[in-house]
């Protein structure tokens, strides 16, 4: 089996960036599995699921409303991406949120076509290291073609200083790929105390 490919600034395995200890256990964790087609059939499920997940974790923050809004924005972005880039919308996708002392890790998983996955990985590699303000301005000036990825993740970097990583694991004889997208956000950003 071909080895996974990593893009961006995180390992996208839910254990945080590569320079952290894998032994760090989350203080809290929530996972859910969903069929993308059910979300396509009722798009409000995306924001409703994001709000539910956000409220679950917001209890641990001083300003619950603000934390809920920030987390809902991040989760919603990953849910939408997972649905949008699922090549077979009947194959379940997943979302795992882990809370650590200093950060939140949100990981989505979906199955994409090999070409979709490669394009997505390249897009994340670019947006993970570029200047988010400049990339945002560029995207507004010249939006990508329909189906292009990125503006939402750029906004997460721009607004919350989020780190973004993608792990792409070939599957089905290299015709498809399992795409794990991880966004990590500092808890100070969740509490509105970011720089």
């Amino acid at each position: 089996m071909t080895a996974p490919r990593l893009f961006g600034s995180l390992a996208a395995n839910g254990s945080g960036s590569a320079n952290r200890s894998d032994s760090e256990r989350p203080l809290s964790e929530l996972s859910l599995s969903f069929v993308p087609l059910a979300v396509v059939a009722e798009w409000t499920r995306c924001s409703e699921a994001a709000d539910f997940v956000a409220r679950y974790f917001a209890h641990d923050f001083g300003d619950r409303e603000l934390a809920g809004n920030v987390l809902s924005t991040v989760v919603n972005e990953l849910l939408e991406n997972a649905v949008k880039f699922s090549s077979d919308k009947s194959i379940p996708a997943g979302l795992t949120v882990r809370e650590y002392a200093e950060r939140m890790s949100i990981v989505s998983r979906n199955v994409a076509s090999a070409s979709q996955a490669a394009a997505f990985g390249d897009a994340v590699a670019r947006l993970a290291h570029g200047d988010p303000e400049q990339m945002f301005a560029d995207r507004i000036a010249s939006p990508p073609e329909t189906g292009g990825a990125g503006i939402g993740l750029i906004m997460l970097r721009k607004d919350y200083g989020a780190k973004v990583g993608v792990r792409i694991t070939p599957s089905d004889g290299d015709r498809a790929a399992i795409v794990d997208v991880e966004v990590e956000i500092d808890n100070r950003e969740v509490e509105g105390e970011g720089s």
Binding site: L37, V40, W43, K89
Partner: protein, 216 residues
């Protein structure tokens, strides 16, 4: 090929229809759906109120929908009661119909792996059966919107006569559907004048041998 046609009645049947339509529309047009929070600029479409199922050996291979009120052409196509009345007047049947009652055929979807067998025009014709639309209960008119190539290749191929109401405005939700050379129009179908008897009186539910309809 025999096709069993029946209206989706149970919650499960309605979900099956919605998932088939959602799969086709999302794959072909990058569209998603919502029961009550639709937004054509965000590519979120509203669901129809009624569905017709096309089943082959128990498998749902095609589905279409019907707006029973709050039609797409009035909500988004700027079609007014006056517009509809003018079309009826032009056909000299204004007294026979109530323009405040309208049904709209919509969201015709054939599974990708069942395409090329002539299902779409056949199911489109069948969906104009009075047993599905119930236009005879309240003197309703039929309306729809589509791009011109679909009107020719599907509606007219089914033998349905269509009457232009007005051009359909541009929305982002249709960016992968219509084009400058293939624009969309809102059209009316006057039940007693424009629907061939074979469709208008087609009994539903029913199982029918699907025949390929010749191109017009």
């Amino acid at each position: 090929m025999k096709l069993l046609l029946r209206r989706a009645e149970s919650r499960g049947d309605i979900l099956r229809c919605r998932q088939l339509i959602a799969e086709v529309y999302n794959r072909d047009y990058d569209v998603v759906f919502s029961e009550d929070r639709y937004d054509l600029e965000a590519k979120v479409e509203p669901w129809p109120h009624r569905y017709l199922m096309g089943l082959c050996a128990g498998e749902l291979v095609a589905a279409c929908g019907l707006y029973m009120h709050d039609t797409y052409v009035e909500r988004f196509g700027q079609v007014t009661d006056r517009d509809l009345h003018c079309v009826l007047e032009g056909a000299d049947v204004a007294d026979d119909y109530d323009v405040t009652c309208r049904r709209e055929f919509t969201k015709m979807s054939v599974r990708h792996d069942w395409r090329g067998r002539g299902i779409a025009p056949w199911l489109t014709g069948a969906a104009h059966s009075r047993y599905f639309t119930e236009v005879d209960t309240d003197r309703a008119v039929m309306v729809f919107c589509a791009k011109l190539s679909i009107i020719d290749n599907i509606f007219h191929r089914a033998g349905l006569r269509t009457r232009t109401i007005k051009e359909f405005p541009f929305y982002k939700v249709h960016e992968l559907y219509r084009s400058a050379s293939d624009p969309m129009e809102s059209r009316m179908i006057i039940p007693k004048l424009d629907i061939p008897e074979r469709w208008y009186e087609l009994t539903l539910p029913g199982e029918y041998e699907l025949e390929r309809l010749p191109r017009s």
